[in-house]
Structures are given as C-alpha cells and as structure tokens.
Amino acid sequence: MRGLIFLRDRGIFVLWILIIAVFAVWANPYFATLNNAILVANAAAISAIFAAGVAVGIICGALDLSIPGVAALSSCIAGWMITTGLPVWLALVVGIVTGALVGFVNGVISLRGFNPIIVTIAMLSITSAAASIIAGGYTFPGLTQLDFMGTQRYLGIPAPVWITAGVFLVGTVFLTKTRDGIRLMAVGGSAEAVRRSGIHSDRYKVLAFVISSTCAALGGLVTTATVTEANPSASPALIFTALTAVALAGVSLVGGRGSLPRVLVGALVLATIANGLTIKGVQPYWATGVTGVLLIGSLALERWVTASVSRRLMATAQASVHTGTR
C-alpha cells in the first residue's frame, strides 16, 4: 500500500532516475557528467517556466492557450525597447507587466461566462498579431544586453537555471504555504464549494490567469536572452511541450490537484530524453516518439495506481467497519 502511494506521488521522480540510469550506461562516458547535467538543466529551464504557468492555470481549472502569443509579445516589446535604446531593466519590467495584463484580461473575459479555451485561443491570435506588428514581421536580433539572463553562468550554472529555480521555489511556497495559494488550488477542485465557504473564487481564477501569463512572459524573455533575438512567431510547440511536462507530472487536467516540483521533473524528463538521444546520435524523431509513448505510459500507470490505492483504501475501510477496528 505504501509502495503504491509512493509510486502515485513520486512516480515521476522514479521515472526520471530510471531514464538517467539507462542513459548513464548506454551513453557512457558522455552522459553522466556534471557538465552534461548542467546542460540538461539548462535545456529544461525554459520549458519548465512555461510548464509552471500552464500547471498553475490547470490546477485552478483555467487552461491558458495564449502562452506562445504572450511569450512572443513580451519578447518583441522588450526587444523593441532595447533596440530603441531604452534601459534593459525597463524593457524587462514592461515585458513582464504586459504578460500579467494579458492574463488579467483573459481572466476577466472568462469570468463573463465565455469559454476560457476559446478566450485564450483568441488572445493567442491577438498577441501573435501584436508581436508581428511591433516587429514589422521581422525579428529583433543582436540583443546581447540580455546575456546576463541567457548564456551567462553564475557559480558555473547558467542564468536560465537560476531563474527557473526561483520561479519554482516561489511558486511552490505560494501554492503550499500561503492562504491564497491553497485557496487557488481549492478553486480548481471545486469552485462552487469554495464559493459556498464565502471565498471569492472569481478572484482566484483571475489570479491563475495572471500567474500563467506572467510565466509565459518570463519564459519568452528568457528565450530571447538565450538566443539574443526577439522573434514574433508564436510557436505552438511551446504549449505542447509545457502540457506534456504537466501531464507527465500527473497534474489533474480537471484541476484541484498538482505539484510544481513534479512539473519541474516532468520538464527535466523531456530534456533528459532529448539530451541522451542526441548524445547517442539517434535521429530526433525518436525523441518525439519516445516522449509520446512515455506520456501514454505514465497516464496508464497513474490511472492504475490511483485505482489500486482507492480499492485498497475502500477494502481497509470496510474491514474496519466489520471488525470495529480503526
């Protein structure tokens, strides 16, 4: 029983360790090195930031599909401001605030009874178009002023890894240790129950959209810093990678349940597979296929483990009733 519960709550960690073990042997001696571990962490960092935004939205029952557009818009606004000679800090602040504002608008419109998926798809179009208009259909290249949060290393670790660590630390503390965070998760579980408890569930839905879009903006800015170019094209691959990491982490897609550390490991699993296969020189199509197989496998495992745990708990409860023990 304990084993099953462990597998349910920590299965993604076990999976990751297994994958690392397999590649450590198969891609020996290149895979299991400190430098490669840093590379994997760096590769996972950006997807993890986007995945954090998607996860917080889903946990609160608000799937935000505008994330690629928000990332492109924030990048292009910051890129334009830096190119025109404005201070870098101001460009970053405006980029982040833009993301938060888009999230706020998404939330407010969704609360009017509109389907959040349709609203965020519309916002994806609007933000993508706005990014293209700002960039005039081109890109903003040569943004080396952002190196400090892109390719720069601090204590030997790349800047995006530090930023991601900060996002997940703050996010985890917020969701598990603060009143607003716990309420936000509760809204995803049952908005009606929360409302009947006298809590304004609407406020928390809007907050989830704001957090989601802010993460998207931050992810867009970190991507820009890494490649020193702001690109107006909103890549749909962003949302799929983030959703894959979230699903691998066992975040309930109907809301109310999920853990940010597991989402981080979900992103690390994807980066580890891609890294290991690349080191072995395996064609990249295999990485995509393996990810799909893993996703279905982890969903099946989660379903089996959850059903097994529930069955055993019911059996224990019934036995307690009959024997009078607890």
Partner: protein
C-alpha cells in the same frame, strides 16, 4: 394581419436573395473589367475562347502575391520588396497570407482569380500539387503566373503557356556550402577537422539534393574529413541545445556547417556557452545577422539565395508576360551568391 406581414417579409427576403444571387452570378462570370458575360459567351472550360475573352490589354495592373506565410521574416521581406518594386513600376500589389496552410492558399488565390481582380499571380506554393487546378484556371483566364518549382511539380511535362517556373537550385547551394566548408578546413585547420552538420528537417524542399551535394563537395575539397554527427534544425534555441548536447559526445568538434541561418547561429551560441572556439562556421542562408558575422570573422562563409535580384527578374518577367499571356513562360533560377572573408 400578422400572416400578411410575415408573407410580405418572406416575399421581400426572397426577392432580395434572388437579386443578390443574380448579381453575384453576373459578377463571378464577368471578366476583369467587370462586364457581365452573356449566355452566348463560351464556358470557362474552353481555354482558347477564354484567352480571346481576356486579352492582355484588359488585364488590370494588379499583382497578387501569395507567399508561404507572412510570419516568416524572409517572406515578409520579399512581400515588402515586391510591394515596393511593383509600386515603383505603377502596379498595385495585393499580398495574401495563407499562414502555411495549402487549402487556404488555394482558396485565396482562386477567389482573387475568379473575381477578375488579378492581373498577374506570383505564387510561392506551400504544397505544389494543390496548385495544379489553380494554374489551369489561370491559363484559361489568360492571367500570367509565376510559381516556384519546376513543371513536373504541378503535373506538367514541360514549359507552359502563361506560366513561369522559378526554381531554387538546391544542389548548387549545397555544393557551394560543402566547398566553402572544405576551403575553411584547408585554410584554417590544415585539412583535418571534426565536423557537425545542421540539416533541414525532413520534408523540407530540396533537402535531399542539398545534403547530398554538400557532402560530395566537402569530400572533393577537403578529402578524408568526416561529418561525425548531424542534427535537425528546428529553430535557433533548439539548435543551441542540440549542439550543446553533441559537444558532450564530440568535444573535439571544430567545424559547423548548417543548412540555414538559425542552425549556424544556434551552434555559435552553443560553442559560446561551452566556452569553446569554433574556427569554421559556414551556412546556407545569408541573413543580415550572418553577413555581419562573416564580416566580423566569426563565420567563414555564407551561401545566400539572392531573393532581391530574383524578385526583380521575376517581377519584370511577369510584367512582360502580361503583354502576351499565351506565350510560353521562361524557367528562372534564383541567383546564388557566396560571401566569405575574402569577398
């Protein structure tokens, strides 16, 4: 009373709908000048008759430009160039945006062709096979077309009346890339090197010809060198990550050749992040950022398709074809230019 009012409304709706239908039918069967066709006129399936129905002089000086998608910077640049050059020649240019969707592209081009608005079509087909019917329709209407590829891509067995085919010589591009990479190896590394190659993703136009020509020219210029690994280029960030991983298995890599700019720039980023030197970088792209890196000495060479020159030759060809849309169109090739430290 209520019934009478409803009947009246229905009658008015029916009359309105019938009138609209008649007007739309008349417009759709009219030629470019907006004149309605009569029942005595030949049907649109009789090419010879249609050519005489839409003589060159009647075609408006309106060019419809249908690129792959305006979200691609190169396409945006080309559309700006076409609009600017066309405007300077007294043409109106309508730019479409099919967003990489073949069905949308066919629909948009068909609409503008059927409306009689198009005086000439410039199509960069997303899925060439889907454009075959559009080309036949344009021939029937006598509207000249310039389209990418070769006649066989569209089911033709040779050059066609009213159609110019504009093709990219991927083989020549790949060969130039291989030759420049070999030259860099000989000049900077004494003929010995460890190479990685960034290839275009599967399904990209010209991939097979370009990749094969690259390897052949590389072997001919710097015999004995080996490409130790190939990665597929999706975008700059992904290339940066992939090359970083490749460097774990092959830390001795000192040459990168890439099938496009994003691959080369991503590789440069990966080497920079790893704190390693990269003596030889070459690519098949040639955007402004890459040209700047060649000038600065960071890259050895870039092979670039000269789209601006091609734009001018293509536009001038279309304008000439409009004078006689029944003439067989020429086959054009996008010019190539190699820029390296020596040039």
């Amino acid at each position: 009373m209520s019934m009478t009012r409803h009947s009246l409304k229905r009658s008015l709706l029916a009359v309105g709908a019938a009138t609209t239908l008649v007007i739309l039918t008349a417009c759709s069967s009219s030629d470019g000048t907006g004149e309605a066709s009569t029942s005595a006129e030949p049907s649109a399936t009789e090419p010879a008759a249609m050519e005489s129905e839409a003589p060159a002089s009647d075609l408006p000086k309106t060019l419809v430009f249908a690129p792959l998608a305006l979200s691609i910077p190169a396409m945006q640049g080309l559309s700006d160039g076409v609009s600017g050059y066309g405007g300077s020649q007294g043409w109106e240019v309508i730019v479409q945006d099919p967003k990489l969707d073949p069905a949308t592209q066919v629909q948009q081009v068909t609409e503008v062709l059927e409306s009689g608005r198009a005086g000439a079509l410039w199509i960069i087909a997303i899925a060439p096979a889907s454009m075959t019917d559009v080309l036949h329709a344009a021939q029937e209407k006598g509207v000249p077309v310039l389209i990418n590829g070769v006649p066989a891509d569209y089911g033709f067995d040779g050059p066609q009346a009213g159609i110019t085919f504009d093709t990219i010589d991927y083989e020549a591009g790949g060969a130039a890339l291989g030759e420049q990479t070999g030259m860099c190896i000989n000049e900077k590394l004494g003929g010995e090197a460890t190479i990685i190659y960034g290839a275009s993703p599967a399904g990209t136009a010209g991939k097979e010809e370009s990749d094969a020509a690259f390897l052949e020219a590389l072997e001919a210029t710097a015999p004995g060198v080996e490409v130790v690994q190939t990665w597929d280029i999706t975008d700059r960030a992904a290339s940066q990550t992939d090359v970083g991983s490749i460097l774990q298995a092959h830390p001795e890599v000192d040459v990168v050749a890439a099938a496009n700019d994003e691959g080369a720039l991503g590789a440069i980023g990966a080497f920079k992040a790893a704190g390693k030197d990269l003596p030889c970088v070459t690519d098949f792209g040639g955007n402004d950022e890459v040209l700047g890196l060649v000038e600065a000495g960071t890259m050895y060479a870039t092979v670039a398709l000269q789209f601006e020159e091609d734009m001018i030759q293509s536009f001038d060809t279309l304008a000439e074809m409009q004078m006689d849309p029944t003439a067989v169109g020429p086959e054009l090739t996008v010019p190539l230019k190699v820029t390296n430290a020596a040039s």
